[in-house]
């Protein structure tokens, strides 16, 4: 690779190893999927990150993907969000919810536009504290769109070994992809 600075060729770094590792990736097939699961997540990292490109099978945009830890669907999550849609900015949340917040998706009305999300899950294997999730994501549709910053708390001290990503009443469309990474401490 090369670079251009004021017409001159710059200098570049060579590839290095890092403490950020790809653990697993799931890409939705032609039939769509109602959920995506990462199981047997090793406890050898300090933090996890999920990087996603997402489209729903709904016609409309703005469906929300959700997430459970260790298949816990009880109201053991607290969630908050800061949202903006190009005109309105708002914030809301609830102290008792059955899922952690993911983020929004595009719909089938925009055939080649996917929403994107980046979620961090901090200290996921620590058995002395509740687990926190942070997710930024959204989409832009040339004059409309959504950008959301969301935070969730799973009120459990269990180490997270299983993550279930859920399309709540809809399906993830083909080529939606969720990549799980581990960050060493």
């Amino acid at each position: 690779m090369s670079g251009i600075l004021g017409g001159l060729i710059g200098s570049f770094a060579t590839a290095l190893t890092s403490s950020y590792e790809s653990i697993a990736t799931v890409t939705v097939g032609s039939g769509g999927a109602s959920s995506v699961t990462f199981s047997s997540i090793p406890g050898t990292y300090k933090h996890l990150q999920i990087r996603a490109v997402i489209k729903s099978t709904n016609t409309n945009n703005g469906s929300n993907w959700l997430l459970t830890a260790n298949s816990d669907t009880a109201n053991n999550y607290a969630v908050h969000q800061l949202y903006a849609d190009g005109s309105t900015v708002g914030s809301n949340g609830t102290a008792s919810y059955g899922y952690a917040y993911g983020n929004q998706t595009t719909g089938t009305s925009n055939t080649n536009i996917f929403a994107v999300s980046i979620m961090d899950i901090f200290d996921y294997s620590n058995t002395n504290k509740y687990k926190t999730f942070r997710c930024i994501g959204g989409y832009d549709l040339n004059g409309s769109g959504d950008i959301n910053y969301r935070s969730s708390l799973w009120m459990s001290t269990s180490a997270i070994t299983n993550i279930n990503i859920i399309a709540n009443g809809w399906n993830l469309a083909q080529y939606s992809s969720f990549a799980l990474y581990g960050v060493k401490g």
């Binding site: 690779m1 251009i4 950020y20 590792e21 790809s22 929403a115 549709l141 409309s144 950008i147």
Partner: protein, 166 residues
């Protein structure tokens, strides 16, 4: 689950003298996502801009953004379609150090328009969360970071990372 090291630095540059732009070219397609971090300051107040492309950067009106902006006193949101670049809308003060992080996900696929997430902040300017789209399905292999009519100060750095999914 198999694991492999990634978040690989592809290229980095620090300006030895003032310049109006820096361009990453021939970006390999071997990663899943790109992360670009800009840390620097300007000779005058101006928001860093980005253009992307394949073979050359796209200077047409093919960029659109949805922005969440905090000014230090007001929070607002707006759409910015039909622009000739991704605009970070950060408005740093002259000489003020700022940071921009841009995530280009699935940047090398050739079937979808490219959506990117931006976070940017300048203590004397704005704090920004932004999603943008480049209305082109081509793989991205060039990214240009620029200012409009202003120079980046010497010491401004540009670092590009690649993240490869399993």
């Amino acid at each position: 689950m198999a694991a492999g090291s990634t978040y690989t630095p592809i290229a980095t540059a620090t300006l030895g003298s003032a310049a109006s732009s820096y361009t990453f070219t021939s970006i390999p397609s071997t990663y899943t996502d790109l992360v670009l971090i800009v840390s620097g300051s300007n000779a005058a107040s101006a928001s860093p801009l980005m253009q992307v492309g394949n073979g050359s950067v796209d200077t047409g009106t093919n960029y659109s953004m949805t922005v969440l902006r905090g000014t230090g006193s007001v929070v607002n949101s707006f759409n910015n379609p039909g622009d000739t670049w991704f605009n970070t809308f950060m408005s740093p003060a002259t000489g003020e150090i700022y940071t921009v992080t841009a995530n280009f996900q699935n940047y090398s696929n050739t079937t979808t328009k490219k959506t990117a997430l931006f976070r940017a902040g300048a203590a004397g300017g704005n704090v920004i969360a932004e999603v943008g789209i480049w209305n082109n399905t081509a793989a991205i292999n060039q990214i240009k970071v620029l200012l409009s009519g202003v120079n980046f100060n010497a010491g401004t750095s540009f670092t590009l990372y690649g993240i490869a999914a399993a």
